[in-house]
Symmetry: C2
Subunit: 104 residues, 2 copies
């Protein structure tokens, strides 16, 4: 893989995402913290979340959130950026993500 | 075990239940259906939910919901009854259960 390139990633159509997958993705405190940081601070690169977990674990968390339709990843030069898909999710599951984040 | 007696069951203090456990318990359509039926129809025995799953699977679902603090089981003669702990859960996680049920 050339420097500055990441493996391409796919993003599900939120219309096809099941609530089970969203709940499982959010049933983890580190993943909820990722969502919270994106919600409050906006888009950011994977390496800047300051979470006390190994890079491989963090990579798994981002993948889980991406496959559940919760975030979208895109490349910005050498950085893999993350952005929440909250508007899309809210149209499909109104209030769900916020209710979960409010719960802890 | 004498006829009409069930193995004793324990119920967690909802104050000790983590949101992860509630989300995982609700990340299953059959378990959400159990919760919905209890919400609309009130207390009922395990055998009366009319769900298309094996008895052992159903037993697992009830146990998962009980351990997550979502329902309470009690014996009424030969029947094991189920009751929702929605008021307790709502005090700990306001609006969470309804937001999940509304989602699907």
């Amino acid at each position: 893989m050339p420097i500055g390139r990441w493996a391409p990633v796919s993003h599900p159509d939120v219309a096809t995402v099941e609530v089970d997958e969203v709940l499982k993705a959010l049933a983890d405190p580190t993943r909820r913290q990722i969502v919270r940081l994106l919600m409050t601070d906006g888009d950011r690169p994977c390496g800047t979340f300051g979470l006390p977990v190994a890079a491989s674990t963090l990579s798994h968390h981002f993948r889980t959130l991406r496959k559940a339709g919760i975030l979208r990843q895109y490349d910005d030069g050498r950085q893999r950026m993350n952005t929440l898909r909250l508007d899309e999710l809210d149209r499909r599951f109104p209030g769900l993500v916020r209710a979960v984040l409010d719960a802890g």
